[in-house]
């Protein structure tokens, strides 16, 4: 059915245009022969097409535009006529003889335009006459276009100050009166459209109304362009009159559009100075009007205005903008108890942004806004509406973005209260936003109190907020979250060791509530941050007169022990072992032998009881041996115990090659370069010999199981170790032993039963090259090697 109507409309439009064009043709002919009577006759006929009721606003507009163009030519013709001697007053009277009222009024306005330009009468009188005559058309659509025509014609002919049509002392009042009257009448017509026709077509009517709204709004624009209107006039006359019409029309569409129009069209300075009056209109509007959007617009404009120049700021203070806006919002919310949560939050959000821009130093204002938000949300539990949630996130993000400093946001007492209303998912999102803000701005969170407050805020990431299992949590997302918490922990710093220690304690307290899933992310950064503190304190000697309360490396190590221990709840033995060894080395650097020994013990226990994967054991051994090799704090007994254990573990690794390598690595435990009392040549050799035995055993095993003796790689490695200790001056390692090992390898390589291994060959070759190079070097080293014989290969 609708398409049928549209098709019909196109037909009627086409017919209307045809009629219009035909009459226009005759009108032109009449004008060309200076035939006034005929020109009037045909123009009236032409304008009759605009009397139609059959067209929608969109189509009517097309017809109107063509008529408009024709009327321009007619206007020029009228002007010519007056030059030829026709009296404008007579012409003004003559056109009123047109049969139908609509054409009559279009013609009257057109003549009126020429009349005003002739200045034979004051502009104000003609305008007054015209605006009242237009009352003759009460049909909404036709009336709107007619008055729009009047508006267009009159725009440049208003008796504004400084214009050529300026009148007497009341000239501005006259101009304003004219425009406001036209505006008022147009609005009435526009509103009347709402109630024309059956209820079922309401949607269509509203759409049509929307298409016409700019015709009404244009009047406000014209008002804003009138030079003679100053702030006082705007305040005393213009605004009150407009608002009166807006409120009294009681039409939702008009009210929303016009309030928005007022805000867009008049200068921000005016809004500031008339804030109270403007705001007082809002509670008087229809309940269904989307006030929050308009109010938000207003606040945003004012915020931008403030941002333009700081000179403007005192004005804001002088008019008490913030408190007026604050109470206006309160009144609006009060007046609409059914307003959905998203509405109230949006209002708070806009006010907050306003406050942040206009009064950035007034944290109390910001906190006040957050407080009203909390009040609005109270009693509602966690917010489910996603739009409202988004607004809350926008609200909470605003201070972060403004100050680029989370610490400032932490000062807002109501901030965490607002966060409470977010559902768990969104809470985590907000927490991530906060952390990202810290990272981006490199914010220094320097005291334990602030860290405490911060971790309370981000608790959604730190621990499970409710008991229900979160199977829906995406693993990658979870990891990303936890990594950002880890980064945060790494960033915490204070130059004062006392304060830093307090910070570490606070963080520890929080992360220990995180549960097994989170600890492997949060423990390492805390451990390393703590070790950094240890290093800082290292230089300072223990003050014998210092009180027990002060931070000491011992205290930090106690804390570290507890922190690493927490990993056992996951369990994460590999990680725990690594961290214990890190702590041991740090304790070593602090000369705390019992502490270092304790950490080693813990590491060893984990190795014995919890690390069973062969590959993991090999890596663990590298770390244990590597760390132990660097320890200087241990006395003979402790060192012996730990070394003995380490070599024992090494010999018990599953695969023979791994055993061999670990055992010869242990040789370094008996020879530490910078400590003469730790150079036990005999035990070094014992290790190397043991490694050789294992290498041999590996060969035999290989022979037994595969029929060939495997590669000589291990032997070459051990040879290199012999060389290493030989060069270091281990008296137990002689040139002869090196020589015989070389011969052993050569023989093995040449044997049929040995697996060919190019890598081993290359290694051996480069080893020989090295020896050769050392021989030829000259000096002490050359002498050492003196008697060695290298084969030709």
């Amino acid at each position: 059915m609708m398409t049928g109507v549209a098709e019909d409309e196109d037909k009627w439009l086409a017919a209307g245009i045809a009629g219009l064009q035909q009459n226009a043709f005759y009108m032109h002919r009449a004008m060309d022969s200076n035939n006034l009577r005929d020109a009037l006759k045909y123009s009236a006929q032409m304008l009759s097409e605009l009397r139609t009721s059959k067209l929608s606003p969109h189509k009517y507009y097309e017809l109107y535009m063509r008529a408009f163009d024709e009327l321009r030519k007619l206007e020029m013709f009228f002007k010519e006529e007056t030059r030829r001697g026709c009296s404008i007053v007579d012409l003004y009277e003559l056109v009123q003889h047109a049969g139908n009222i609509l054409p009559r009024l279009y013609l009257l306005c057109t003549v009126g335009s020429v009349y005003i330009k002739s200045k034979e009468a004051p502009a104000k009188d003609i305008l007054k006459d015209l605006v009242e005559m237009c009352r003759g058309i009460q049909h909404p659509l036709r009336g709107l276009f007619l008055r729009s025509y009047l508006s267009q014609l009159s725009r440049d002919k208003l008796p504004d100050i400084g214009s050529e049509y300026e009148g007497d002392a009341d000239t501005i009042t006259d101009a304003v009166e004219f425009v406001i009257q036209n505006f008022t009448e147009m609005n009435k017509l526009w509103v009347r459209m709402q109630h024309q026709g059956p209820a079922r077509e309401k949607e269509r009517r509203e759409k049509e109304r929307s298409e016409l709204r700019d015709l009404v709004g244009k009047n406000l624009h014209v008002l804003s362009q009138i030079e003679g209107i100053d702030l006082d006039m705007y305040k005393d006359t213009v605004l009150p009159r407009i608002l009166e019409q807006v409120v009294n029309c009681k039409d939702e569409i008009a009210q929303y559009y016009l309030m928005d129009c007022i805000i867009q069209v008049f200068p921000d300075e005016y809004h500031l100075q008339t804030l109270e009056v403007l705001l007082s209109a809002f509670p008087q509007l229809q309940a269904s009007v989307d006030i929050k959007t308009v109010l938000s617009q207003l606040m945003e404009r004012l915020a931008s205005y403030a941002a333009l120049s700081s000179e403007v700021l005192p004005e804001f203070l002088q008019v008490e903008a913030f408190s007026k806006l604050n109470s206006a919002i309160g009144k609006v919310i009060e007046a609409q108890p059914d307003m959905p949560v998203v509405g109230a939050v949006t209002l708070c959000s806009s006010l907050l942004k306003f406050s942040l821009h206009v009064h950035p130093d007034r944290l109390d204002y910001a906190d006040q806004v957050l407080g009203s938000c909390v009040k609005q949300l109270s009693g509602k539990g966690k917010i489910e509406d996603s739009k409202a949630t988004k607004q809350i996130v926008a609200l909470l993000s605003a201070p972060l973005e403004k100050y680029n400093n989370v610490v400032t946001a932490l000062k807002l007492s109501n901030y965490p209260c607002v966060m409470e209303y977010l559902d768990n998912e969104t809470n985590k999102v907000m927490a991530t936003v906060i952390i990202q803000n810290i990272m981006k701005n490199n914010t220094h969170i320097s005291t334990a109190d602030k860290v405490e407050a911060l971790f309370e805020l981000i608790k959604g990431l730190i621990k499970d907020l409710d008991e229900t299992l979160h199977d829906e949590v995406d693993e990658d997302d979870f990891k990303e979250e936890q990594c950002s918490v880890a980064r945060l922990i790494q960033m915490l710093h204070n130059e004062d060791p006392e304060e830093m220690f307090k910070i570490i304690c606070v963080v520890k307290k929080h992360i220990l509530t995180g549960g097994p899933k989170r600890l492997s992310f949060t423990v390492p950064p805390l451990v390393f941050n703590s070790l950094k503190l240890v290093r800082r304190l290292q230089g300072q000697e223990e003050n014998p007169f210092g009180d027990d309360e002060s931070t000491s490396t011992k205290k930090i190590f106690q804390l570290l022990n507890q922190i690493v221990e927490a990993l056992s709840s996951i369990p994460a033995p590999d990680l725990a072992l690594r961290l214990y060894l890190q702590c041991a080395e740090a304790a070593n650097d602090c000369d705390l032998e019992p502490v270092a020994y304790e950490f080693f013990t813990q590491a060893y226990i984990i190795y014995e009881e919890e690390i069973s994967d062969s590959r993991a054991q090999v890596t663990a051994m590298h770390l244990i041996i590597g760390t132990l090799q660097r320890m200087h704090v241990f006395g003979v007994e402790n060192r012996d115990t730990l070394t003995h254990k380490a070599t024992g573990y090494s010999a018990k690794l599953l695969k023979k090659p791994d055993q061999c390598r670990a055992v010869y690595a242990c040789s370094h435990l008996f020879w530490v370069d910078d400590q003469d009392n730790l150079k036990d040549g005999e035990r070094v050799l014992l290790c190397l010999k043991r490694a050789l035995r294992i290498a041999n055993a590996a060969q035999q095993m290989s022979n037994a199981t595969r029929g060939s003796t495997g590669s000589v790689m291990l032997f070459v490695e051990i040879l290199n170790k012999y060389i290493y200790f030989f060069e270091k001056g281990n008296p137990q390692i002689t040139v002869a032993s090196i020589q015989s090992l070389m011969e052993l390898i050569t023989t093995e390589m040449q044997s049929d039963t040995t697996t060919q291994d190019p890598a081993a060959d290359a290694f051996f070759a480069s080893t020989l090259r090295y020896i050769q190079f050392q021989k030829q070097k000259g000096g002490a080293i050359s002498e050492k090697y003196g008697t060695i014989k290298l084969s030709d290969s």
Partner: protein
């Protein structure tokens, strides 16, 4: 410099720790070579790796496997074992570059300046290598007291140490 397309190869000694860093490096250059550090969550990285770039054979290893940690002679042994001209290792978080008759041993240091039990006051650093024929120029970038300092070291390979 650190934008996609400028670097042909990335050689990484390990301890990137999380996949995110691995992915980031891959965006700079798809030819990423990496060995396993003790804190890497990816357990499939190899313990050692060798590759050839131009006339040079390079070896890569995190370094916690070479005891004593940071000891040049032990590292030279690994270099002989891998049979490479340039050995790149890490673990100590301290930039070093040694030239000896067997070739070059480079430690690019820690790119993030992370804590190390071995080195005090770690300065973030990384190395850029420019390999051209038989010559390699090593540029080291270090962040010291907020300023980036660049140093360069030249190595020329003699043909006797080439292919075996």
């Amino acid at each position: 410099m650190l934008v996609p397309g400028k670097i042909q190869h990335i050689i990484c000694t390990g301890n990137l720790c999380i996949k995110e860093v691995h992915d980031y490096l891959k965006t700079l250059c798809p030819d990423l070579h990496i060995t396993r550090g003790e804190y890497d969550e990816e357990t499939r990285y190899p313990e050692t790796k060798t590759l050839t770039i131009g006339q040079f054979k390079l070896g890569l290893c995190h370094g916690h496997q070479v005891i004593p940690w940071g000891d040049l002679d032990s590292l030279a042994m690994l270099q002989r074992q891998l049979d490479v001209d340039i050995l790149v290792t890490g673990h100590t978080h301290q930039f070093t570059a040694y030239k000896h008759e067997g070739g070059v041993v480079i430690n690019p240091g820690s790119a993030t300046g992370a804590y190390s039990s071995i080195t005090y006051d770690v300065n973030p650093s990384f190395v850029l290598m420019d390999i051209d024929g038989l010559r390699v120029v090593v540029y080291v970038y270090e962040l010291i007291d907020g300023e980036v300092k660049v140093d360069k070291i030249d190595f020329k390979k003699t043909t006797t140490t080439t292919a075996h």
